[in-house]
C-alpha cells in the first residue's frame, strides 16, 4: 500500500516538472509555473490512480477525460488568483497527458504499412495505424472535452480571470 502511495506522489511530482518544462516552450508567465505544476500533478495522479489494475484499471481514454475534467475545474477556480486566462492554467497541465507516443507511432505504422506489400504484414501495420491513431485522437478529444466542460459550466468565471 505504501509503495502505491509513493508511486502516486512520484507520478504527480514528475508530471508537475513535465508540465512546467513543456509549458515554458510556449512562454508561460513565471507566476503561473507553480499553479500549472500543482494542477498537472493532481490531474496526472488522478489518471494514474484510475488506471491502476488494483482499482479496476480504467481505460486510458476514460481516465484521461475524468482527470482533465478535474484539471479544468481547478484551472477555472484558480486562474483568477494568478490573473491569467483559464487556458494558461489548464493547457500546460494537460500537456503531460498528450499521447505523443501514440501520435508518432501512428505515423511510424503508416510508413511501415507503405513499406510492406505482403498481406499479413500490411494488415498488421494497418491495425497498428488504426489502433494508435484512434487511441491518440480519442484521448485528445476526451481530454479537451473534459477540460472544456468546466469552462462552459463556469463561463462567467472562466472569461473574467484576467479582469
Amino acid at each position: 500500500m505504501d509503495s502505491i502511495f509513493i508511486n502516486i506522489i512520484e507520478d504527480g511530482v514528475f508530471a508537475a516538472i513535465a508540465a512546467i518544462g513543456f509549458s515554458s516552450i510556449s512562454n508561460t508567465p513565471r507566476r503561473a509555473y507553480l499553479m500549472c505544476g500543482l494542477i498537472a500533478a493532481i490531474g496526472h495522479s488522478i489518471r494514474y490512480v484510475l488506471m491502476l489494475p488494483a482499482l479496476g484499471g480504467m481505460h486510458i481514454i476514460a481516465a484521461s477525460t475524468i482527470a482533465s475534467f478535474v484539471i479544468g475545474i481547478l484551472a477555472v477556480l484558480f486562474a483568477g488568483r494568478i490573473k491569467c486566462p483559464a487556458e494558461v492554467c489548464f493547457f500546460p497541465a494537460l500537456l503531460p497527458m498528450i499521447p505523443g507516443m501514440y501520435a508518432y507511432r501512428t505515423i511510424e505504422a503508416l510508413i511501415s504499412c507503405l513499406g510492406h506489400v505482403q498481406e499479413q504484414a500490411f494488415s498488421h501495420y494497418l491495425y497498428l495505424l488504426a489502433y494508435n491513431g484512434l487511441t491518440c485522437a480519442f484521448i485528445i478529444l476526451g481530454m479537451v472535452i473534459g477540460a472544456t466542460v468546466p469552462v462552459f459550466l463556469l463561463k462567467k468565471l472562466s472569461f473574467t480571470a484576467t479582469r
Binding site: 514528475f14 518544462g21 487556458e87 508518432y104 485528445i140
Partner: protein, 275 residues
Amino acid sequence: MTNTSICNIPDTVTVSETETCAGGDLCGIASFLADYAALLSGCGATCIRIEKNTRRMARALDVQFDIFILPAHLTVSVWRGDSCNAVTAMRKTAPCGISFNLNARLSRLSWEVADNHLDLDTAIRRFDKIRETEPTGWKEVLILTSLANASFCRLFGGDFVAMLIVFVSTMAGFRLKQIMLEHKHDVRLTFLCCSFVSAVLSAGGHIFNIGATPEIALGTSVLYLIPGVPYINSVSDLLYKHYLCSFGRFMDAVILTACLSVGLCAGMLIMGLDW
C-alpha cells in the same frame, strides 16, 4: 450587396492618419481591433477567446462588431448604426509563435479597455507595449524542457539512466531547434532535424547496452517536439464550431508530428535499430 468600405490601413495607425480616413474614428478602431485579434490568434489563443476579447473592447469603444477568423488571416468589421457603412480591416495572423504570456497580457488589456473605459490612443499605446514583450530566455526554456522530457521518461517507466539519456538528447535536440528557428529555417525541416539528432543520441542506450530501459529512452527522447498546444486548440475550436480553424490547427500539428516521426525513423535506421 453591402456598401462596405475597406480601408487601406497601415500596420501602425496614428491619430493623424485615422483622421484622414473616410470612416473617421471607425478606421482606427477597426485597425486596432484587427491588430489585436491577429496577435492574439498568432500567440495561440482559441477562437472563442479571440472573439470574446475583441467583442468586449468593441462594446467599450461603442461600436458594433463582427469578426471572421481563418487559420492564417482574419477580418474585423466595425460600424455604428447601419452595418452597410461598416469599416473592415484585414490582417495576417501574427507570426509570433505560441505565447501564453502574450495571451494573458492581451486578455488583461481587453478588460482594462472594458472596465476603465480607456480611449483608443491609450489602448493602442498599451497594445504596442505588449507587442514588445520579450519571450522567456532560451537558457531557462532549454533546461526546463530537458528536465520535463526526462521526467516524462520516468512517467513512461524509464529508469534513471534512461532519464539521463533523454535529458542529454533533449538538450541537444532542443538547442538545435532554437538555433534553426533563430536562423528562420522552415519549421518542418527543423522538427525533422531535431528529432533525428535526439533519436541518434538516445539510441546510444540501445547500442552500448546502458541501463535497463533503453527503448523507453529512445521512445520518449522526441516527445518534447509533440505540438501539444495546437492539438488542444484544434479540439477546442471544434467544440465551438470553428471548424476551419480547427482543421487548420490540426493539420499543422499532424504535419509537425509526421516530420518528427520521419526524423525518428531515419535516426533509428541509421543506427541500425528496428522500429
